[in-house]
């Protein structure tokens, strides 16, 4: 439909105001919220995400598109809830205790949001207890951990052990990332996924969710 194509096009340009106006218009016209979300907003994000992966756009374009998507999604939320439509999945994300680096984690968060995932961002310097509490409160399908230092990466193991001790390990897939992290480290600490960059992390999250469903 033309209006959904227009939503997608304006979203790709990061035009939040126009996206909001068109989403409202689409709702007024009686289009299903699920269709506006999937065929308008997420379709646009998928195109911009693809361009980013092919080095055709930079991160700022992705981020402003994500902002536009959030603006549109906020309008859709009541209708989505009323129709029983849920987010594609939920992620709790944070940088582990003792580590203050958050640019990489923020990029991953925004890439997740661009894939239509609901993200609970716990910030930086997050202890294992806070991760466990957040898992209990938000019940996400994915826990994403970030670390940039060789002296904090082992904290990921602590978090995974605590999640296990809390009896929550089978309910959540754990993704890890950061400069010193490797596939070998992932295997050693018992995480489910390691990806080297933000775009790959978003794809991996979607793949994990599809596998789980």
């Amino acid at each position: 439909m033309a209006i959904l194509d227009d939503i997608s096009a304006f979203l790709q340009k990061g035009k939040a105001k126009e996206v909001k106006e068109l989403v409202q218009l689409a709702l007024d016209q009686g289009l299903p919220a699920k269709s506006i979300l999937e065929d308008g907003l997420m379709a646009g994000m998928s195109i911009i995400g693809g361009k980013f992966k092919r080095n055709e756009v930079f991160v700022p374009e992705v981020l402003i598109a994500a902002r536009a998507m959030n603006a549109g999604t906020a309008l859709l939320k009541p209708a989505l809830a009323a129709g029983g439509v849920q987010a594609r999945g939920k992620v709790v994300i944070g940088t582990v205790k003792g580590d203050l680096h958050d640019i990489g984690k923020n990029l991953v968060r925004m890439m997740f949001e661009g894939k239509g995932l609901e993200v609970v961002d716990l910030g930086v310097d997050v202890g294992a207890d806070k991760f466990v509490a957040a898992l209990r409160e938000h019940q996400p399908q994915i826990l994403a951990l970030s670390a940039l230092l060789t002296t904090t990466m082992n904290e990921m193991k602590t978090v995974i052990d605590e999640v296990d001790k809390a009896g929550l390990r089978s309910a959540v897939k754990i993704m890890i990332g950061g400069a010193p992290i490797t596939e070998g480290f992932r295997a050693a600490v018992g995480a489910d996924s390691y990806t080297p960059d933000a775009a790959a992390a978003a794809d991996a999250a979607v793949a994990l969710l599809q596998k789980a469903s």
Binding site: F58, V59, I103, T151, P180
Partner: protein, 459 residues
């Protein structure tokens, strides 16, 4: 701004191994007086820092120092610097940092006495204030432990004092992700400048009181983050190049407060500091690929006085432990530069460093001595830090656009579009700090950035 003119008359005076205002350490290591020396930096392999791991951590640091010192003797490298940049736990609990420092100093003293090495330790407490969110730059509970480490470390024998300060980073991080050059300039020339003044007045005072050298700062958390994002193609290289030029204004107040150099290795704005303040500088490039990739591996050596590897984990490689391996690479790099100086070929070697990188990337272009000279002139000719940042950014853009117009630098269409946008946004920045603050206030998240911690809005 203190500096109204440059410390040099022409770009030709920007040389490696020579600084207009060289320094000599208390043990007699001359820096910027006609030679380039290696500076080794290192960190721990994957390990958690706690009481039970302390014996292993101490052993690691001592092994790193002794490995490098023994290699120095073997290679006949008399002059060197070891940088000890603390990790969070070592600053928050300064006794840990001091214990490690003591081990390094003991090893250095032994090799001074036994082997006649001219070796010094640079102490760089990490900026623990960044541990709190929002950061409380002036009232942080981590400020005093940090200065305790500076003070006691200097008294223990750390000859060079440095820091990678973080004031303004909370705004700059988001600015670079959105390529918002006005917010980046605000972070660097208002917030950063104010914080660098605040910190360095005190660091210089510690150095003077203890008879040490107040080395210098680095915009690593700022322009190097932009460099890393550009390297991953997350942001345009032209933005990173402009951010680099503006970052020089942020670091300059350290020298206005009395820091004498050498500045910190990861401060790629060092050449601008040499041009303006005349200080000797530490630089890193191709031999820092163990820590991060870059597009400026050769050109960054063009006016280095210390040459560093940035950082390497203490892990085993085929030939030996990684810090020892890095040290050997630095020795050969600096030996080549010093041989060039000795035989009068330094200008030619510098030309090779510059020409091999200059037109491969805008970030390299702005580090060419002739670009550094022009951008530095723009900085000292400005009436305020904000105006200096704007002028530095616009001059960097002008040089990039000239290089593109001449066909020597190739930028893709997306980069060209960004260059135009960055230029327009820079030109719209007012010269007056008060006006700039007024302009930016509606865009600053005052919950994430506490302006009073920069002395803004307070009496």
């Amino acid at each position: 701004m203190k500096y109204a003119k440059l410390a040099i008359e022409s770009a030709r005076e920007l040389e490696f191994g020579f600084a207009p205002r060289p320094v000599t350490t208390s043990h007699g290591l001359a820096i910027g007086s006609g030679a380039v020396h290696p500076e080794l930096k290192f960190t721990l392999p994957p390990i958690t820092i706690n009481a039970s791991s302390m014996p292993e951590i101490l052993e690691q640091y001592e092994g790193i120092a002794r490995g490098a010192l023994e290699r120095a003797v073997h290679l006949g490298q008399r002059c060197l610097v070891l940088e000890f940049e603390t990790l969070l736990e070592m600053t928050m609990e300064s006794a840990i940092g001091l214990r490690i420092l003591d081990l390094l100093l003991e090893a250095c003293e032994e090799f001074r006495a036994k082997e006649g090495l001219l070796v010094e330790v640079r102490l760089t407490p990490n900026d623990a204030r960044d541990f709190e969110r929002p950061p409380r730059l002036r009232s942080s509970r981590w400020l005093e432990p940090m200065f305790e480490l500076f003070e006691k470390g200097a008294l223990a024998g750390a000859e060079l004092l440095s820091i990678e300060s973080t004031g303004g980073k909370e705004v700059h991080d988001e600015a670079i992700m959105f390529c918002d050059v006005q917010a980046a300039a605000f972070a660097l020339t208002v917030l950063g400048v104010r914080d660098v003044h605040f910190l360095w007045a005190r660091i210089v005072e510690v150095a003077r009181r203890t008879g040490r050298l107040a080395g210098g700062d680095t915009a690593c958390g700022f322009a190097n983050t932009a460099m890393m994002l550009a390297e991953k193609r997350f942001i345009p290289t032209v933005f990173a190049a402009v951010d680099r030029a503006i970052s020089a204004v942020r670091t300059l107040p350290a020298y206005e407060e009395g820091a004498v150099g050498p500045d910190k290795d990861c401060g790629y704005e060092g050449p601008f500091m040499k041009a303006i303040a005349g200080i000797p500088i530490s630089m890193e490039g191709k031999s820092a690929a163990c820590a991060h990739m870059s597009r400026v591996g050769n050109i960054s050596a063009a006016c280095a006085d210390l040459w560093s590897n940035e950082c390497v984990q203490n892990i085993k490689l085929l030939s030996g432990m990684a810090p020892t391996v890095c040290f050997e690479q630095l020795v050969y790099d600096t030996r080549l530069m010093n041989t060039a100086i000795a035989r009068g070929s330094a200008a030619e070697l510098q030309r090779l460093f510059v020409e091999s990188d200059k037109y491969t990337d805008p970030q390299a272009l702005v580090l060419a001595p002739e670009s550094v000279f022009e951008i530095s002139k723009a900085i000292v000719g400005a009436p305020s830090y904000v105006a200096a940042g704007r002028a530095a950014g616009l001059k960097a853009l002008e040089l990039i656009e000239e290089a593109c117009a001449s066909g020597r630098l190739a930028l893709d269409e997306r980069e060209v579009e960004y260059a135009a946008r960055i230029g327009d946004e820079l030109a719209a920045i007012p010269e007056d700090e008060g006006e700039f603050i007024e302009m930016m206030l509606p865009r600053i998240d005052t919950k994430a950035c506490l302006l009073e911690e920069y002395g803004i809005g307070s009496a």
